[in-house]
Symmetry: C2
Subunit: 353 residues, 2 copies
């Protein structure tokens, strides 16, 4: 069902923009989107609108009839806005948030600093920027269903003589109980999306993911990983956009089958308590280490409700909790402490050389 | 029951050190404490040991017979250690943590940076330090009983030609439902402790507390404040130590009466849910803004279980939760958004001039 966002034909463009299944009206006025339909800013805004709507609909299908996403379209005084969709207290999903934002303004100084340490050579001090992204965190109720997070974003910074642009993003899975088949299915789906574009991407971005989602004070990862990347400005803008499109389109096939498989699995008090403890770790990662969250919260005029929608409905902290030896909980911890090569990419590599 | 920590008499010193009501053996070997009994490092270690034990015993008195503090004495590879006392899942206290630590080593670079921005003029790059402190966070089960936090600490940094030393600390209250009498009692008790030492302290440190415990992304304070100070190296070491001693001794009379007053108050599902949401805000403050927590977690060899014992057993995040107009929840929010002058210090000031 992948269709190109890039339509030469004006009539087709109109149809895309007015599709009834978006969650709300685009942030950028439709007349402007129509005028600048070849601009990457337009293409990205339309992509994230579509991904948001498709994912929300896919999640609602797994829910009871009465559980629907609540849609908030918001504007930011400093420029742009977003559409935040949240489903709370459903039968299947305890808290599901799917957010898009399309914002512009002047980069805050800490953001400039952070980008410079990543190798961006900016000349000007005042740097106008544009950012469009979709991000989602889904916390299911059943501890046998993993949490998923994804985020895909496009950045433009206007410097003295040039426009810097890049894509970033990723999709990662946080199970409460390890199911190896799930992890393999998840990684395989992401690898297929990567492989269409570059055979080296999956391996590289899988490692990046394991490194990024690291709760360093505990020496453990948030989950079983996935892919993560930033500063993708290669090989060219259209190709990079197509790669990001493939990744974003892989979210549903990577995750919804896992929801369907486990949503009715049996569990008890013990499993629920463990899930709540792991959700506490999720909160630790997001509030202490996550770049997006820290950045968001320190940006003037940030909509904190949208940034913090990633936090679980419930979380727990117990002093010195330690899973029993050889328990299913300990099995998960081992993988969080030592990430696995789910698709045997490294093994395949060394065999072929 | 305040007795001087500073004993000229060796026999008396021995008695103090071996008091049976400490929670565990001191971190510094007893022979060293005896040898250096006039050293502020020794005096502070004995103070925090005593404060920890007195506070733990006072809390246990409010609890059911079977709920006692679990005591962990730990050593830090890099130098020093601590004693962590935690009472979890009691009838009155859902989670209560009282921690002391006595550590030494070389200051990590971000710590040096942070201290320099606070005006410390260090000459050397490698700076050996010593830090001793007590800190506690008590999360009661009943939403009508407020949470209390306090922390008192002593720092020494060995520079080229001098030893920099200072005290820091504070005590603050986080109610879930505002009881104005409680807030006044709490502030009055702290003010009395301050007034014994300097009539300007309470006013200054009360404001500092309101500024420090600010969740800036939400524009609200964590609670109804108290006192907070840092870099107290005046008027002289003994006087500063006595001031800190008074503050630490004021914790029990400021808080225990509030526990006794409300521990059996009636409440229902609604009040519990509100308490859990506010505990989510507590987590936000501690993980995003609290200097001690950030510092601790970024210090090599940090004991994260002791640092994170401040987090509540349970917390909750709801998207766009807004208290109803004129509800008791909204009444609390008003005070968190606009701190009050509980003892009419400002009014008294302007009347007298």
């Amino acid at each position: 069902a992948a269709y190109s966002q890039h339509k030469q034909n004006k009539a087709e463009m109109k149809e895309i923009i007015q599709l009834k299944n978006y969650m709300a009206e685009p942030i950028t006025p439709i007349s402007e989107l129509e005028k600048n339909q070849d601009d990457m800013k337009t293409q990205m805004e339309l992509l994230i609108m579509r991904i948001q709507a498709e994912f929300c609909r896919a999640l609602e299908k797994e829910e009871d009839e009465e559980s629907k996403f609540k849609v908030d379209r918001w504007k930011r005084k400093e420029g742009g806005g977003g559409i935040t969709c949240v489903l709370q207290d459903g039968r299947v999903f305890e808290k599901a948030g799917v957010n898009i934002s399309v914002v512009s303004g002047i980069l805050p100084p800490p953001a400039v600093q952070q980008m410079k340490t990543r190798g961006k050579n900016f000349e000007n001090k005042e740097l106008p920027f544009f950012a469009a992204g979709v991000s989602a965190v889904i916390h299911p109720r059943n501890p046998m269903v993993p949490t998923i997070h994804f985020n895909y974003r496009y950045f433009e910074v206007q410097d003295k003589n040039e426009v810097h642009w890049w894509f970033g993003g990723g999709t990662d899975l946080t199970p409460y109980y390890l199911n190896e088949e799930d992890a393999v299915h998840f990684h395989r789906t992401l690898k297929q999306a990567c492989d269409e574009h570059d055979p080296t991407y999956y391996d590289k971005f899988k490692k990046w993911c394991d490194d990024y989602f690291f709760i360093s004070h505990r020496g453990e990862r948030r989950g079983v990983g996935g892919i993560f990347f930033d500063d993708v400005d290669y090989p060219d803008q259209q190709s990079a956009f197509k790669f990001v499109t493939s990744c974003a389109e892989a979210v549903i096939p990577s995750y919804i089958p896992l929801v369907q498989k486990h949503a009715d699995a049996g569990y008890g008090y013990h499993e629920r308590q463990w899930q709540l403890l792991r959700r506490g770790r999720y909160v630790e990662f997001n509030l202490i280490y996550d770049r997006g969250t820290k950045f968001g919260l320190h940006t003037p005029g940030a909509r904190y409700e949208s940034i913090l929608m990633s936090l679980p409905l419930n979380a727990k902290w117990e002093y010195m909790h330690d899973p029993k030896p050889n328990s299913p909980e300990e099995k998960l911890m081992k993988v969080l402490k030592e990430p696995r090569d789910w698709l045997n990419v490294q093994q395949a590599k060394s065999t072929s050389t």
